[in-house]
Symmetry: C2
Subunit: 426 residues, 2 copies
């Protein structure tokens, strides 16, 4: 059978790993795909830079700078988009599909933002648009929710979807937040500007792609509550230890009578929870539905080779011509706030070390009927002169109501740092 | 598009759950499959028994007693074999494929034993033979190793593949072995004769099916070391607690320079191991390979509805006409003994309470250079008059060599119960 010819857009960490893997497993790839895979073109931003690809890479690609030229090449069967960004990839993917080519991408942002347009286009032209590597890197979660579980509603999804954040939260056991971010950067896991990761936006992109398949509708990320891990500190981890809780940044989907709650928030999980022990840059997704109870997938959520593995698996599926059901677009399901469900919360305030402060904090909480289950002012957590932390465990309360109560705090109690409040999920 | 018409062979726990699920999710099934799914025939052993199927089950099936008649019905697209056994299903699957029908089965035994013949036949006739539900019930592990991970060698697979055994090992924390088996029977997880589960044979069938895909060759189960959980006791669980180890029945595949070690054995796992916290009737599989590091899938490994979920997912894949690469048959890879790798072992002997017994046990072990790291004779474990347990932690040693040493024990030290020895995997 004729070779399946691909053009690679981007030869960074992931692209480099893709060519390495395709070269090392050329025989196994051809077997699974039912035909040889050839890399016919590689497109890079600056083709004058010296680059090497493995000598045994099937296809002996040209390395050039013009993406459009590669996409319009009639000998190319599929475009593998690994360049990053949103606007240029959007155009490349559009053009590729219109030219009758399959597309494989690891780019969550472009699909979370332009999914309606691109999925519809792929459907219309009968082309494959695979994006397994864009969510949870090595974990084949998209394939599992598209084909591996029975049809019918999934009630809940809970995911650790950002390996960088999970790595940082792990380091926070010993380091300050700033040092933890630096440590992630040194490990090659965080960008020089880590905002997209630590703000929760990257997790929200992935949650939107998962929810789109599970709900059968488009999920605009601007409708989601998205909170990141900025401002968390070793104090919070320590509270977790004391109460047998593990701090994770979670993407959550919960169907309820009223619609579907969707959002990204740092949460405490009891140590018996299947995601509580997910460490380092691992990602994990817990699915819950009546027929199968619960199902957990866990694996590397970042890194060149783990991501490349999913890209290659997608290339092979595309080369086999496997059918794929496209996530529906258009009709938006009613999206609600996961913070609207009452749960216990942990609360940390850094307040002036003055008489009467505790009473004023308790008063603000009481004004919105937020019950206090426990409160302490640990001496060993003294950070700097004149400021003490107050840690509070609340009775179950909606995050929204707790936030309202916190907004009633006098300005002098808010000014030192923003209060940290974390949901304690069951 | 025309309906995809199936005949169900068997309406027991799984069959009943399949019709329930197909009725409840008819709309979602039609959407994912791209065509409606109809149950046109149901075949049961005794059609005179009164049976009900959901009123809204698409297809309004006849319920009859003749499997051959159903298989030969030209209006049927696929046979869903849920009857159990090996010889009758082998004939039914053969005939169905020869008649040009797809086959979906949850029957691990028939494929582990007659896989060469049936997979080759499906390939030859270009039909689908899906069997996701036969391994780890609700966990879509076959799909993941066939399509979800990159092509190329998987170095290690470690699986908890029998939900009944895992349930029994969990109960063993509080109950005797016999009481634990009874508890599994009461929970509907163990057969009246639980031999197939507790002997490890069921796990071996599943391991063989997984290894067949991963190694690309047929795996005759008679070449595997297969050990069950018979004879284990709360004493052993207690040893685990003391040493932060968790007792699991594991199916293992480890590629080594010499071939591939394959077998089923009860093993201790350190509590930090990803499979250590798998509880109740859950199954879990850990895959390890260079490109993706490690990947874990965990979910329900037994029960009507969890199994039915995977059967339905397979029906939808077959109805879509998804391509499937068949596990190769014929060439057998060199299979070695997982007991040939040296690891620490736990050893429990029940010996007569006499002077000099310890010295004789130590002597037998020393005769094969088995080093003793720790030894105790816990008084609180006294079971009956005149007999004491000896518990030994060895230095790393091959299971084969340890067994040889144990065979040197004088007969009076072996006679009370067979020595229990358990590998401590890392």
């Amino acid at each position: 059978m004729e070779s399946y010819r691909i053009a690679l857009l981007g030869l960074g960490t992931v692209g480099g790993a893709v060519v390495e893997l395709l070269a090392a497993t050329r025989k196994e790839c051809a077997e699974r795909a039912g035909r040889p895979i050839e890399v016919s073109r590689i497109v890079v931003r600056d083709p004058s830079k010296n680059r090497t690809v493995p000598a045994d890479l099937p296809g002996h690609p040209t390395i050039r700078g013009d993406a459009i030229e590669a996409i319009e090449d009639p000998n190319i069967d599929a475009i593998v988009e690994l360049a990053g960004g949103t606007e240029a990839p959007r155009e490349w993917i559009r053009l590729a599909i219109e030219q009758g080519k399959d597309v494989i991408t690891a780019n969550k942002a472009v699909l979370a933002i332009h999914g309606d347009e691109l999925f519809d286009l792929a459907k219309e032209h009968g082309r494959s648009l695979y994006y397994e590597a864009s969510v949870a890197a090595a974990v084949p979660i998209l394939q599992v929710i598209q084909q591996g579980i029975p049809a019918g509603p999934v009630d809940r999804l809970t995911g650790i979807l950002n390996g960088t954040c999970n790595f940082i939260l792990g380091r926070l056991e010993e380091l300050s937040f700033e040092e933890s971010v630096k440590s992630a950067q040194q490990a090659g896991l965080a960008e020089a500007d880590p905002t997209l990761d630590i703000s929760g936006i990257d997790s929200a992109h992935k949650l939107a792609l998962l929810a789109r398949i599970l709900l059968g509708c488009s999920v605009p990320i601007e409708k989601l509550r998205v909170e990141g891990i900025e401002g968390l500190s070793p104090h919070d981890i320590e509270f977790g230890w004391e109460h047998d809780l593990s701090l994770k940044l979670l993407g959550m989907m919960r169907r309820n009578g009223d619609g579907t709650a969707l959002g990204v928030m740092p949460c405490f999980l009891p140590s018996s929870h299947p995601l509580a022990s997910v460490r380092d840059e691992d990602n994990a997704v817990l699915l819950e539905a009546a027929p199968f109870g619960s199902l957990v997938l866990q694996g590397k959520g970042a890194g060149g080779m783990p991501t490349a593995g999913s890209v290659v698996a997608d290339i092979l599926r595309a080369a086999r011509g496997d059918a794929i059901s496209y996530p529906a677009s258009g009709t938006v399901e009613k999206i609600t706030d996961p913070g609207a469900t009452p749960v216990r919360h942990y609360l940390r305030l850094e307040v002036p070390d003055r008489h009467g402060v505790l009473a004023r904090v308790a008063g603000a909480l009481a004004s919105e009927q937020v019950g206090i289950a426990a409160l302490d002012q640990p001496e060993n957590l003294l950070d700097f002169a004149g400021v003490v932390p107050i840690r509070i465990l609340t009775h179950p309360v909606e995050t929204t109501r707790l936030d309202l109560a916190l907004s009633h705090l006098d300005e002098d109690l808010q000014s030192i740092t923003r209060p940290v409040r974390i949901r304690i999920e069951e």
